[in-house]
């Protein structure tokens, strides 16, 4: 007798709900804005990040310690999700967290391209995917981009990387498309149709961000279309093509017909800052997944909700500390926070 949907997800959902209750509440972020960096580090050192801060305290100091502790905690938390889940949930989580493999590969390639040091690259590596930290350390030691690509030849990412001809953007784009194509395949093969719905919304939001960036940079239609990821729920290929060919003001007006408009409607008069727009879309994504995770409590959605919330927490903390370090005004840091 096959297990029902409820039984399959009961354990992992209860577990992630428990984990979610330990996330930093959003009321804390305004308080962080009033604290100094040592105070924030101390608070973090006494929270869920304690073991990471203690472990890395010997090796790093100040904001570096903070950055590494956040990354390590994020990686360990995501890895824990893979370890405690079973069957279908495990498959979907593993596929979804391949995002971090792509992230790490991109970080290493960019680092090598710009001649960054090993330590600098390591600062941004989050080993939450299938590539282990030790393997990543070895890959970082390789000096050239070609060498890095050759080292990844036995991974599933190699087909996307093998076409490297000196332009990083091309292979990064291939990696993104490969990641989402793999996810859509995973979603279609699973019985859990909610995952596919969430995924397609995420693709739409990602495409919107790409469109805004490209429009702002004044890129041509063909160039933009090459970067867009197929498979969205509202923004199908025809709509994407239409949006890509419009000039910026018309493009913004055309967005009114999509449900994503409500995310940016109140700032539509002053769409000058891309950061503002991207934060709004991130927030929309966060609210969306949290909402639908309550509609379907015994599905993969609460797990994905936790994954998104945890990433936002780490991003927010990093934003606050980095912002404070560079003495950014409070309003600007606040505008970057997704909560």
């Amino acid at each position: 007798m096959g297990k029902s949907q409820a039984v399959k997800y009961a354990y992992i959902v209860a577990r992630v709900r428990g984990m979610k209750s330990k996330l930093i509440p959003k009321e804390m972020y305004p308080k962080f804005l009033n604290m100094d960096i040592p105070e924030i580090t101390r608070f973090i050192g006494e929270s869920e990040y304690k073991s990471d801060v203690d472990e890395l305290g010997k090796k790093y100091k100040g904001t570096d310690l903070f950055e590494h502790a956040l990354n390590q905690n994020l990686a360990l938390t995501y890895r824990k999700l893979i370890e405690v889940s079973q069957n279908e949930a495990n498959y979907i989580i593993t596929e979804y967290l391949r995002y971090w493999d792509i992230w790490n590969i991109k970080t290493i390639l960019r680092g090598k391209f710009s001649g960054a040091s090993e330590d600098e690259i390591l600062e941004d590596v989050v080993s939450a995917g299938q590539l282990r930290y030790r393997d990543l350390l070895e890959i970082i030691k390789i000096g050239t981009i070609e060498g890095v690509i050759a080292a990844l030849s036995k991974t599933p990412y190699h087909p996307a990387l093998s076409g490297y001809k000196g332009v990083l953007a091309e292979i990064e784009n291939n990696l993104d498309k490969m990641y989402y194509a793999g996810l859509i395949k995973a979603g279609e093969s699973s019985e859990d149709k909610f995952f596919l719905k969430f995924l397609k919304t995420e693709i739409d939001l990602k495409n919107l961000k790409i469109l805004f960036r490209m429009k702002r940079a004044g890129m041509e239609r063909e160039e933009i279309i090459k970067l867009l990821i197929p498979g969205g729920i509202e923004l199908k290929e025809t709509q994407l093509g239409r949006l890509a060919s419009m000039p910026f003001p018309e493009f913004v007006r055309a967005l009114e017909e999509f449900s994503y408009w409500k995310a940016i409607a109140d700032i539509s008069g002053e769409l000058t800052s891309l950061i503002n727009i991207e934060t709004r879309f991130d927030k929309y994504g966060l609210i969306n997944i949290t909402r639908i995770s309550y509609y379907y409590p015994l599905s993969i959605l609460p797990v994905l909700d936790y994954i998104v919330c945890k990433k936002m927490e780490v991003d927010n903390l990093r934003m606050i500390v980095r912002g404070k370090e560079t003495k950014l005004p409070e309003e600007i840091i606040k505008a970057h926070l997704v909560m």
Partner: protein, 85 residues
């Protein structure tokens, strides 16, 4: 030879008792299966929650035994069958 038209009251009473016992068994058995089905998801969730926060033990245990009331209903029906009829 026993005349089939004449029914021995002792045999009828014994048969009735047997059927009542089978009924009581079915009541307890089916209710047990139902309670078990209900408990499997709750138990899994309770273990998950406890793994994250052991303070959840009491609540988790309480939630897990709620479907057990179905088994008690079965037991009550079985007892009524056995002792009232």
């Amino acid at each position: 030879m026993v005349d089939p038209s004449v029914v021995d009251p002792a045999i009828v009473a014994a048969n009735a008792k047997g059927i009542i016992a089978i009924g009581a068994g079915i009541a307890v058995g089916l209710c047990g299966i139902g309670a078990g089905l209900g408990e499997q998801a709750i138990g899994a969730a309770a273990v998950g929650a406890m793994a994250e926060d052991e303070k959840f033990f009491g609540k988790g245990l309480l939630m897990t035994v709620i479907p057990e009331s179905i088994a008690i209903f079965g037991l009550v029906v079985a007892l009524i069958l056995l002792f009232v009829f």
